[in-house]
Every structure is written in structure tokens, then in C-alpha cells.
Symmetry: D4
């Protein structure tokens, strides 16, 4: 996805002879600079929450809307990821693309991936503290696959049974970056980061009740983690964690 | 400290012949029932936050006031514990009792113990996650000593270096109940409880900054701990944790 | 439930001749140490919130899932407790085990106990401030029974009618530890602890409205209780209170 | 303090012949209606927080400013109450009025009453849960005296020693209305209201620490009190509680 | 409803000859003192939120339960008030008592009054800021009627049209105490109290959205009201406001 | 809508000869002053949230109620705006006015405008950060049209793609005042105000999840905006933003 | 302060012949567009909180720093406003500019205005609810003067004495926009907007205590104001309110 | 800093012949695995907040303590970083190491770096939104230098003047990862991430007032950022952001 520099010459000429105003030129140049980004997918993905781009935020959309948007994006880019898709939307998307392109539906993550994902690069580990945290972790997993990262998925290694984590250390040490999703007291990222020298991205989940305040307890715990190296995303934001982890993972690729 | 039942007969007679009213009798009888508790120190201690009893809450009092109250209590009970005593108060108390009775001043815990403590019974472990949590842990330690529990004090075993905790497991397994003081993400009680089948009393501390909100982050983490068996006290309440731990420890004694 | 030490010799040999790596050995040894805990039920129970163990957290599971998990656990341990089970799940569990083993369904507590509980030991009192707090208190009661504690259940003794509490004092004094569930202003634990020298475990409930903020008012009141000896669990966490109370109660047993 | 109706005739004439505008007339009439209130002190007192009236809110003022305002008000009304006066302001006020009129300085309440208070009417009880709550209770006491209510002051009857309250029941039953100031878990108003059929005005105090959040815990507890009849004022607002209690007490007078 | 003093003589005799224990005697005497309250309805009403008494808190009960409780109370006291009764419960209650006793169903207040209310005494004004606040105001009105206060109901006089309030001043000045229910910015109590020398009881309502936080905005505004004399109850607690207002109103009666 | 001054003479006469009381006169005069406002629509609109006026707050009303109120207002004023109207209410209103007057139904804004709007004056821009913010922006648009402002609607120019905003600068510079609706991080108003010297009215929306806390995050961001000139309304309050923007826009008109 | 269009021709030439890169051109053009704003002061003022521009945010700066910045700005623009200047900074600034240019020091507002302000245009009213709110109101007044608006300042017209407001209505009606600063219950903007058809900008102040939470109570009240037309700025942000009011006032000017 | 594997053979022998217990072996092995980490500095740094390691958290320590710890660490590792060092501590450290090793004192960041930092690798950009955010940004810069990352520091490019950012885009595009520190509305990370395909680590600062709630507003804004790829650390945690950024930057190095 290389940058396509605008025809600057023509613009300059038009600006010079008054055919375009200064304001219009600014706008064109800005667009040009934007298009010049090395990774054009970025722009589309950025639009996910606004309803367009290679990633579609399914929540609040009808199945028909999601299908329409996904078709357009798949036609343009060859692939598309839909997140926060409920059962009806998942079914509609699976039916819409049936036969034409590969479609991967993930019930737990509530995602639908259309098209063949990029060749997996590098290595990212995604850890869920408890089984109830799996949907959030799986959203991160699917996002990573869709963006082109190789992923290891590790489940059920919560802090109240710390020996379970020890068994997975070899796997964790192989990753360039680790995503940890945890609800309740949200302590797992601290323990994981304490054993690793790789960046840990923590995702607080809303799993809990009472004084959990729908994820606030986990969020605060992670922001106050004693182990340096942890950064945090919004509650239940598996997509955001996966996206950020992919950027870190790719940093390793680019440096070559 | 056995119960001293009131002279019920005289009261009944007085009530019968009208010398005391029904209301007055109720009050006397209530007092009597109260005095009948097996552990008379309890009543005084309960008054700690109100400024009287065998335990004096030093905060908000002048050194002179603290000395006066402590003298009265020591005279009555042979011993007294002063908590939240600043440097001036600690100095004043040390001077006041100098020579007459044993005085133990704890700079970290900000406590002064006057008089010989009871013979230590049972076994309680008090754990501090970080060095900054030590003052709170030490307040629990001093409270336990003053009440008559045997204490093991364990420092600096935070979750971001979990192997440090493993080394202390034999000590922890020897305790009837464990007090864990932790600030920041407040995750240590979960890990400790996950390795023990004894009650764990968690004390959130105000050690942290920013989104820690003066102890709120630690408090919420502990209330949402995944490991069953944990109970929680107020932020920085080392006294309360020590007091509750003593009651649990003594439960073991009483059951004999 | 004695500890079953691993075959340390074989491990050492394998490690010595390179058949197992150092990392793998660490893990095996950790597991071994874990298995060595005197009370093996602990480990399973700890897993409750993650969907496995002798206690199943029913919330968020389908009746079929709960039945499947309960069957496996009952087969392994001879008994199982399911908490937060709605009507459909209770019915499914009752049907699944019908005839084969004793099944105790508690509508109020929303629990199902499968199998004969352990012989009751010691004595724990569970107090509900109002009738609306009973479901939370009953979850504590069922947990205590399932774990093997003898329980006295006391209902409707709220602070706005303090004489009702006086009538229950003899019963309360017989307990080794008292669980108090209260919503609204959450004041009952303070009053109970003020009359007792036993540990009180306070459970704030979400019973209230408006400025109660779904249990926050009760929780804060209990954390700030004037009477020393009170410890607190999460809002509506009857299970956690019962579990902690059992550990305290058993402390009395063990000390013998 | 009877109402002084304005010279309505002159106003009407002026309005009729155009000497005053309609807008001006509205204003004059409104002022007139206001002056018509049976208790003229009310209007001035209402202005307390704005810096004028028979009650002066000392906080944020210099001693000199407080003296100047108090002099003007005392000259006009014969008496004045200054609240939230620090040591310097109390000293300045005592010196300013020395010899000329009676001056009552209350160190605990941080108030200065100038002039002879009205003849005490009715009966109001003011209760402090702990000694630390006394300053707030005393502000209520001084306000009640300044406004003309007879007051009984009761200290140190917190819920964690409920028998202490029983002894004061006869006194409480004599009052027309009871003010209860309490910090920590704020439970005393519930217990008091549960024993009385008189209105209880609850004042949460900021006495506490950690999860007390500077009075929030007490405030929420009081707003959620189980016992009907309780109303609540702002944290540490002894003045407001005393003022409202006086209005209730006087209701009894007026009904005659 | 006069007090029925217990047979103190018999108790004393039994206590003297050991037929009753000291503990049991305390309890009997406490009950006796309680029964001795001048207004026996108080005790029952206090139990409202616990499911019994002359006032039934309908929320969380089935229509059948509400009918059963109401029948028992009506049989005992001749009257009963049910609050927070949904449509089904109101219909069931109306049907249950049809023909036998007067039944007053208030759709807005969600209340059912059974039996002839006491002869109305004194005078209380209940003000609703907006039409959406009427259900809360009406709950206060019904409570006042049920308890025996004479009520004036005033609707739709919000602060954003202050002239509407002026028209009702004569009515407000006739009341011994005023209840004001307001949502949104909760400013009406301040304005009303500013024009009156009677106690004002403010009820914040949950009417609002967004940064209203389900009543928090109104609650805080009322607690911080500039006008002295205002006291506050919980959000949407029309019952509590009416109850407290009745106690104030009756204070006027009693003083005669 | 010119002011209709009351018959002041007759009132004065009546007041003079005692036919009306002073209190009654005050009220009449106040009403008169109120009627004297240059823009009579104001008074009715102000009543919107109370259920009457030219603007009807549909939420919490039945379709039948909304139709009845709208009919009355349309008959009186020739036009009416209904906000927060769900599908059923929109359908009922469309049917009720069908054929007789123009009816504009806006599905996104959930509004129904009845009658021909005033001739559009001035120029206001309404900007939505994302497509999910459009319903709130559209409520502002419909309010502005109903009140008589000319509106430019700009969608999908969020901060995470800042070049999209540049293209709309000419349009924004033409407006007298700009309304910006944004959820998520709520940053768009800062950027827009940074490029403009016109007043910006920011509307936080509840679009977001997790730590967004239903609009709180956007609200706080806007209140703390670095760019001077921004003012803020309640979360999701498109009506309020449109109303305030109209007042600003009209200020430009009036100044002529 | 007219816009100075950049030498576009030269830039285009340079871009054409490769002397400047596309990125550099974008930047230059953006700067140009920015300079093209009709009111160049805007750009500098916007920088106030960053430490530069015609308005200096004094808080966190030393007197020497403030003097240095103010000298540079005054030299460039002929005038400068310093806000949040403590006594030392005010003295330093007064000394620095003494004699050379007019200097206006406002103790209440904590501001220093250097240089002759622009000729006052239009009319803005600034209202303070209580005397304690005056510093915030005065910051708005000084900002308005410095920017060139004519100001009427109105003090002490709080809602708990609503007749005081009536007297100022003629003055308020003359303003194009009204700024209202209020602490405590923050109700004044609602009442003012209810009487006016001009935009009202509300400034919550931190004047209050206890459940005021440093301005939160006032802020929430204003955001939930029933009267349409109110917009809100941050707590104690007199500068921001004055700035926004000036933009509205100038809208009136521009429209001519 | 290569891993030094423990003498596993000897341990195994000792374990085999019973000289060490299983528990002790577990601990030794754990320590060994820990030492085996490729980057030994990690372990020490992790201990920063506990008072030991190559990074010293100066807050709460005396200058003498900081000097002692720093000396020990410098002796061991050749370098040390002290953060949150006040003026006295900075002076003491500068004096202690004077002449022996290079010492870099940063007044803004409140840090002292002792010893020659590692050779800078890769490239990290650190951006401060306003000058007041510089201390936090500078703490990140110093941490990055101390750990061995090459840093570009960019100041004063806040969103309310978006063209300033455009000029720095070439610099930002050169970085492998960007740290953005911002107070107030915290919007800068969204804008920066919207223009970049590199990971952005956002640091909310406590710069603000009123409804900023000491950093909460910035924190929430960043957690809700619309642009994917942003992760967040605690308020004012420049150290944590720098640490995490270094881990990401090094990921690029390692991948080679």
C-alpha cells in the first residue's frame, strides 16, 4: 500500500493562476499528505467507529447495514473485519459472503472476518485471566489475525492460582508483545509484566459485580500496576488492544 | 478478665419497691449484660476512636491529652496502646512513662505501647507488599502484639516479582490468619489467598498517585478479589486489620 | 485430604539427565507444592468464578452448561454447590441429579447443593438486617453448609428497632464468627460488633434506591464502622462472606 | 417582630401618575411582601452565607471584616452570631464587644454570640455520636441558643456501645426535635429515630478517613436510613441543622 | 394507641426466683419500653421497608403477597397504606378490599390506602416543581393523608418561571411545613425557603438525564441550598418526606 | 409577538380601593412584567420540559398525550416542535396533522415539526463528530429550524482524521455560531474553536462504552477544553444546544 | 487587525522548483490560513494557557516570568491581560509597567490589565450570586474589558431572596448576553434565564463545602438547568465565560 | 547482561540427598528462572517503587536515603536513575557523585541520572501538549535516555492550534513509538494517532482545574480516544510511559 503523491504540479499551477483558492489548496495538500502515509489501511481502520473502513463497528447497526458496508469494503480491499456483531449480524454476514470468499465467524469474539487475512508476521500472545474474559481476549485475537499478526491464545491463568501461569511462561517469552484481558481485581497484567521484558497491553474487562462498577475496579488496578511497562486500553476494548499490539509487533518487522 | 455480673437481686428489689424506674432498670441491666462479656478489654478498645479505652486514637489530640488519657488507662488496665501518634506525641508518651513501665515506641507504625503486653498466643502473619506499605502493616503488628497475638512480619513481596513470595510460603502456612497490606494495584491479597487455606484480611493502603485516588484503586481491587476467603478493611486501617486478625487468632485458642 | 508429594526423585533424575528442562521442572514443582495443601477442596473452589471446581458460579451459564459442569464435579468429589442459579438452572439441576444423590434447592439463595454435605463443625451465625437482605444471607448460609460449618440463621433485626437484636444476643454469642448482611444504611454490623467479641464479616447488599447507588452506601458505611473487628466483602457477595466465615470457623477446629 | 406593611397608597399614586415605572413598582411591592414576614430575623439570617445578616459566616473573612459586620448587625438588631470563626476572629470579636454587651465564645463550635439571646422556648436535643463530632454538634447548639430554642446537649453515645444511648432516652423523649451529628458509618440517626416519634435531623460529619471520602460515607448512610422521619443536611453543617431544628421547635410554639 | 406497660411485677418475680434469665429479662424490659411509646403506629411503620407494619413497601412483592400483608394489617389497625404498588398490585388490592372498607387508589403516587384515614390535623403543603415530579410529590401527599395531616398540593411552579410561585405564596404561608419535590437542577426548595419561615423538606427526584446521574444533581443542589432551614431526604423518597413532614406538623399539635 | 402591557390603571384602582390585596397585586404585576418580554415564544418554550409550550418533550408521554398537547399548541401558535418522540409518537403526530398543515418528521432527531417554520435568519453550523453523534446533532438542527435559524449540517469530521475538518472550514467560517456534538474523547470542539473566532457550543454525547460512563468522559473533556470560547450543555442535549445557538444567532439579528 | 495573506506566489514558485517540500508547504499554507482570521488576537489568546499570547495564565509562573512574557506581548500588541496572578505577581507587574502604559490591577479578580483596552462595544451583564462568587465574576469582567466589551457588574442577587433579582431586571434586559457566576446550589442561572430571552453563560464556582465537592454540585445543577438557553463553562472559569460572552456580544456587532 | 543459569546440578543433588527441601528448591529454581531473563536491568527497575533497583522513586525518601541507595546501585550497575527528586535531593545527589561519574540533573523532570547512559538505539518521540505538561514529558525523556533509547522532544503543540502539530509531522514519522503527555481535555493523542501508523502511548497529566479532577478528565478522554493504537498509563506517570516506550522501541532492535 504505497503512498500515491498527488499531482502537486497541477495544483500549484491552478493555485498560481487563481483557478483554486488558497483554502482549497490547503485542503488538497492535507489530503495528499494523508494519502502519503506508508500504511493506507490505517486510514480506513481509523474510521471503524464511525461506520466505515476495513473494520466495521457492528454495534448499533442493522444486519443489512453491516452487510452493505462490509460488501463495499471487501470489494475495495479484498477483506474486512466486523466487530461487536450480534448473532443475527453474524448470520447475515456469513450468508452474504458465502462461497465467494473465506468467512471466519467467531461466536466468542462476536466478530466476522471476510477475505483471506494477511500472511501472519511476528508473534503476539493474548492472555485471558478467566473464562469470562475470553470474549474480550478473542476480539483482540481476531483483530490481530485480521491485521496480519501471528497470535498465541492463552486462557484461564488467573492470579488466584499462580502456578497455572508458570506453565505458560515459555510461550509468553516467545511473544514480542502480550495482551492481557482481566476482570475482577485486574491483577494479572502486573504478574505477567513482572516476569517479562516485553511490552504488556492490559485490557480491563467488565467481568465482576457490585463494587466492580462495570470494569472500573479492573481499570484502576491496571493503571496503578506496580510493574513498569504496562499500558492500558478502555474497558472491554479487545479491538483496541489487538490493534495497538499489532502496531508494536510490526515495529519489530519494520526495524529489519 | 472474667465477667462481673451485677447485683441483680438488689436491682430487682429496688425495681419492685419502686426505688428505680423501669427505664433506669433497663439501662442497668444492659450495662450488666455488657460487663458480662468474657473479654472486658473489648469494651474499652471499642471506645478507641471516641478517645477512651485501652487503645487511644492519637490523631487530632495534643500530646498532653494523649498522655493524660494513656495514664488513666494504664493505671486502670496496666497497659495501653496509642495509635496514629506523631513524633511529638510519641516523645511525650515515652517521657511520661519513662522508668515506671516498659514503653515500646514504633516510629514506622506511629504507635506507643505502654506496659508489658499479654503473653503471645497463636500465630498471625502480617505482610507488606512494598516498603511504602510498611507503616500500615506495622500498625497491624503493634495492635496484634498489644492484644496478645504472636506475629510474623514479612516485607516487600509485591506481585511484580512473584518469586519473592514463594520464599515466604512456609512462614505464611504456619499462621492462623494473614494480614496483607498493599497499595498501588492491591493485588497481593489475591495471590496470597490463592496459595493458602487460611483467612486473609486485606488492608488497602493509600500508597499510589493519580488514578489511585488515595487508596480507592487498592480498595476496589481487594473487594473484587477472585480468590475466596479475603475480607477487607478501610484504607490505611492497620489497626482494624490487626484487631480483626486477633479475634480470628483467638478463635483458634478458644476452640480448645 | 492429605498432600500427595510428587515423585520428586524421578523429576530430579529427568532434570539431571536433561529429559526435562529447567522451566518444566519449575512448573512441576510448583504444581507439586500446590497439591501439597492440606485442604484440596480449596483449589477447586478457587476456580468457582472461572467455571470449574466444587463450586459453580451459575451466572452467565446456560442450564445445560451448569448441569454438565456439576456432573463432572459431583462425580469427582461426591458433591458440588452451584450459586447464582436462576429458576431454569435450578430446575435443570434438580432434574439431572434426581434420585441418584441428595439435592438441596434454595430458591431464596438461588443455590443448588448436590450430594451430602460434610458433617457440620463449629458454629457460625448469619444475620440479615431486613427481609430483602435474605437472599444474600441465604447464599452465605448455603455456602457454609456446603463447606461443613454449622449455621444459625437470624432474620429481620435491623437497627431501626434495636430491641429485636437484643433477643438474639444469646444465639450470637454462641457463634465463633458472625456474618451480617445489610442494605440501606448498612449499620447493623456496627451494632452487632459492638456487642460481641467475635469476628464479624459484613456483607453490604444492593437493597436500597436513589442515593444508595446499588450498594455503595452500605459498603462505605461498613468500611467506616466504628466498632473494631469488622471486615467487609463485596456488595451482595454472600458466597464470599460464607467462605471466609468457614475459614475462621475451621481455624477454631484446627487449633485443637 | 411584626410586619411593617409599606405605604401602599403612596406607591399606587406614584405609579398612577407615572412617577414610578411598572418595573420599579413590582420591585417595591416585592420588598414590601418580604418585609411582611412575621419573623424579620429570617431575612437577615438567610443572608449569612453572603456576608450580611444577623448570622455571619466567618470563613473566608478577616477578623477586621467580621468585627465590622458584627458591629453593624449588633447595632441594628441587638445581637449577632458569627460562625466558622477561627481563633484570631474569636479573639477580635471578644475584644471588640468587651464590656458593652454579653459575648459568648465557644471554642469547640468556633462561634461567637454577641448580645443577650432570646428567651429559650420549647426543647431541642443535640446529640454527638463521638467526641470528634462535638464541634459540629456545638455549632448546632449555639445556633439554637442564638435563635431562641432551649437545648439539651448529649455527647458520646455512638452505635458501637448501644447501651450508652439507652441511658439518654428520657432526655431525648422530652425534645420536640432531635439533631444527631455523626461521622464514620453515620448510623446513630437510624437508631435514635427507631426509638422516637419526633423528627430527627441528621448531620453527617467529615470525621473519618480513607473510604469515608470526607463525609460522603456518613451522608449516604443517613440518606438511606431505614427509619422513617429522618431528614439530612450538608456535611458538617451544624448551623443548618440547628436552624432547621429551631423552625420545627417554633412550629410547636406557633401552634398554640 | 396508649402504651401498655408490661406486668413488671411478674417479670421481677420470675427473674428473682430464676425462672427467667437476666438476658431474657433485658429483652422483655426493652420490648416493654418500646411498647410504651405514645404513638404505636410508629413501630409498625418503621417496619415498612422490612415488609410489615401499617405501611407496606410494595416494590419487590407480588400482588398476592401485598394483599395478604395488607389484609393482616388492616384487620389489626383498621387501615393500611401500600406504597410503590404497580398497576397489577393496585388492581389486586382494590379488588381484595372492595366493598368492605374505603379504598383510595392513586395512580400517580402508585399507592393504595385502605380504611378511613385519621381526621386531618394541621396543614402541610406539598409542592412539585414540574409535572414529571408529581408521582414523588403524590407519594408524600398520600403518606400525609394516611398519617392524618391536612395537605395542600401545588403543581408546576418550577424556578424557570418564578412568577408562578408568587401566586401560591398565600397557600404556602398557611402551612406548618412544606415538602418540595424537584428534579433537574433541584433549585425550587432554595427559592421557596427564601420566601418562608417554615421548615422546608426537599425531595430530589430522578427526573433528568445525562449529567443528572439519576437524581444526584438534584440531591447535591438541595444539600448545598443557600437558604437555611432546608433538610433533605433520599432521591424519589416521597414517603420519607411525607413521614417527616407529618412529624413536624404533629409537633405543632402536641405543643398545645 | 409584541408585549401586551396589562391594564395597570385598573389594577392600581382596585388595589387602592381594596378590591385586590397587595399579594394579589404583586402576582398580577409579575405576570404583566413577564408578558412584556419581547419574545413571547420564550415563555412557552421554557415550559417544554414540563409538558406544555410550543416545544413538547415527548419522552415519558403517550402518543395520544403528545397529539393532544401538540394540537392545542399548533392551534394557538400555528406551529409546534415535539422532541424525543419515539416511532409510535412520530407516526401518531404525522397522522394527526396530515393534510392540514406541513409536518416534518425527522427519524434521526426523533422530532416532529408541525406548521411552517419561521423564515430562516442568520447562519448556524451544526457539526457531528461521528455518525453515531448524528441523532443529537439533528435534534439541534430541528430545534434551530423550528426557532427560525438557517442551518448548515456537517457530519463525520472527527479528530482522528483532522484533514476532513479542513475541508469544511469555509462553511464553518460563514456561521455566526457553531454547535459541535461529539462522543468518545469529545475533542472536536477544541479543534474547531482553535480554528474559529465564533462562539462554539459543545454537546457531549453518550456515544462510547466502558470508561466513557455514558457521556461523562466527553462532558469533562469539553469543560476542560484548552481553546477559549467553548461553552457546554448537558449530555445528549441537542435541543438545549440548538436553543442557545439560536439565541446567539438572533443576537446578530437584533443588533441591526 | 486585518488578515495578512502570505506571499502565496513565492511559496508556489518555491514548491514548484523544489526549494520547499510538500510537507513544508502544507505547514506554511496552514499558518497562512490561520493568520487570515479576521481577529488576530484570537490566536494569541488561545495560547493563554500555554504561557504565551495577549492573555497570560499567571498560575504556576513566577512573577519574573510573568513580567517577561507580559513585556513581550505588550510590546507586540500594545496590551496584555494576566489572569490568576497572586499578590506578588500583581505587584511585580504594576512595578514593571509603571509610568509607561496604563495598568489596571484587580485584587478581587486577581488580574492585571496592561495597556489601554479597546473601545467598549455592545453590552454584557456579569452577575455574581453571592459575594464569595465575586472573584470569579470579576475575572469575567476584566476579560470582557480587555477584549473590548462594555460590562455591567451585578452582585449579591442569590436565589434565596429572589426579590433582589427583580430590581436588576431592567439592567439585565439591556445586555446582549449575561454571565452568571454561582456556587452553592448553583440555581441563579435558571432563574435569570427564565426571565430573559438572551443567552446566559453559567459559571459554577467552588464556593461551598461538604457535599459541594469543590464545585461539582454547582456544575451539575447548571448542566441540568430547566430553562433553555443556558450554556456552561468549567468550575471557576471566569476567563472562559468572559471570553465566550465577548464572542457572542461581538456577533451582534458583526451582524451590522 | 546475559543470563547466568544457576548451578542446577548442585541443587538437584542437594534435593536428591535431602539437603534442601522441596519448598526451598522451588524457590531457588524460581530465582534462577528469573535471573535467566535476557535483560537483567529489568528486574532491578521493577523494584523502583519499592525503593531499590537501578531506578529510585525519590518521592517519600530523604536526600540521604536517596544518596545511599543510588550509591549502592551505581556501584553495582555503573548507573542509576532517580525520579521524583525534589530540589534538595537533586542537590544532594549532584554533590554525592560529583567528579566521579557523569551526573545529569533535570530540573523540569525532577530526575537525576548518574553514570554514562547506554548507547542510544532506535528513535522515540516525546510530545508535550502544553508547557505545563513538560515536567511529565521530561520524566519520560529522562527515563528513555537512561534505558538507552534515542529521543526527540517536541513541546507546545496542543490541539487548539492544530497547525503547530503539522510542522512536526516529519519528526513524528521518524519515531518507532510516540509518547504524548497532555492535560486539560487530553485530546492530543487522538490527533497524533490519527496521523501516524506507529504506537502512541498517552500520558494524562494533572494540568487543569475544576472539573478536571486532578487528571481524571484527561485520563478518560485518552481511554476513549477514537483513534485505534493508543494505550494509556497512569496520570502524571512519565516514567511508566517512557519505560513502556523503551520496550516497544527495543522490540524493533530485537527483531533484527
Amino acid at each position: 500500500m504505497k503512498a500515491k503523491r498527488p499531482a502537486a504540479d497541477r495544483l500549484l499551477a491552478d493555485l498560481g493562476n487563481g483557478r483554486v483558492s488558497l483554502d482549497a489548496a490547503v485542503e488538497v495538500l492535507l489530503d495528499a499528505a494523508q494519502d502519503g502515509l506508508p500504511d493506507a489501511t490505517l486510514d480506513h481502520d481509523r474510521a471503524r467507529r464511525c461506520g466505515a473502513g476495513e473494520v466495521v463497528f457492528g454495534q448499533g447497526k442493522t444486519p443489512a447495514q453491516a452487510v452493505a458496508i462490509a460488501r463495499r469494503l471487501a470489494a475495495k480491499n479484498g477483506r474486512v473485519l466486523v466487530t461487536r456483531a450480534d448473532a443475527a449480524m453474524r448470520q447475515a454476514l456469513a450468508a452474504a459472503f458465502d462461497g465467494s470468499v473465506p468467512v471466519a465467524v467467531n461466536e466468542s469474539a462476536r466478530t466476522v472476518r471476510v477475505g483471506r487475512p494477511p500472511r501472519p508476521r511476528g508473534r503476539v500472545a493474548v492472555v485471558a485471566a478467566g473464562t469470562a474474559d475470553l470474549p474480550v481476549a478473542d476480539e483482540a485475537v481476531e483483530t490481530l489475525i485480521a491485521l496480519g499478526s501471528r497470535v498465541d491464545r492463552i486462557a484461564d491463568v488467573g492470579v488466584a492460582g499462580i502456578h497455572r501461569l508458570a506453565a505458560r511462561m515459555p510461550l509468553l517469552r516467545r511473544a514480542r508483545v502480550v495482551v492481557v484481558a482481566a476482570g475482577m481485581e485486574g491483577a494479572l497484567p502486573s504478574v505477567v509484566q513482572g516476569l517479562l521484558d516485553r511490552p504488556v497491553i492490559a485490557v480491563p474487562t467488565s467481568v465482576g459485580y457490585g463494587a466492580h462498577f462495570r470494569g472500573l475496579a479492573s481499570l484502576l488496578a491496571m493503571l496503578n500496576a506496580c510493574a513498569a511497562g504496562i499500558t492500558v486500553v478502555n474497558i472491554d476494548n479487545g479491538f483496541g488492544a489487538g490493534y495497538a499490539a499489532h502496531l508494536v509487533n510490526v515495529t519489530g518487522e519494520k526495524a529489519r
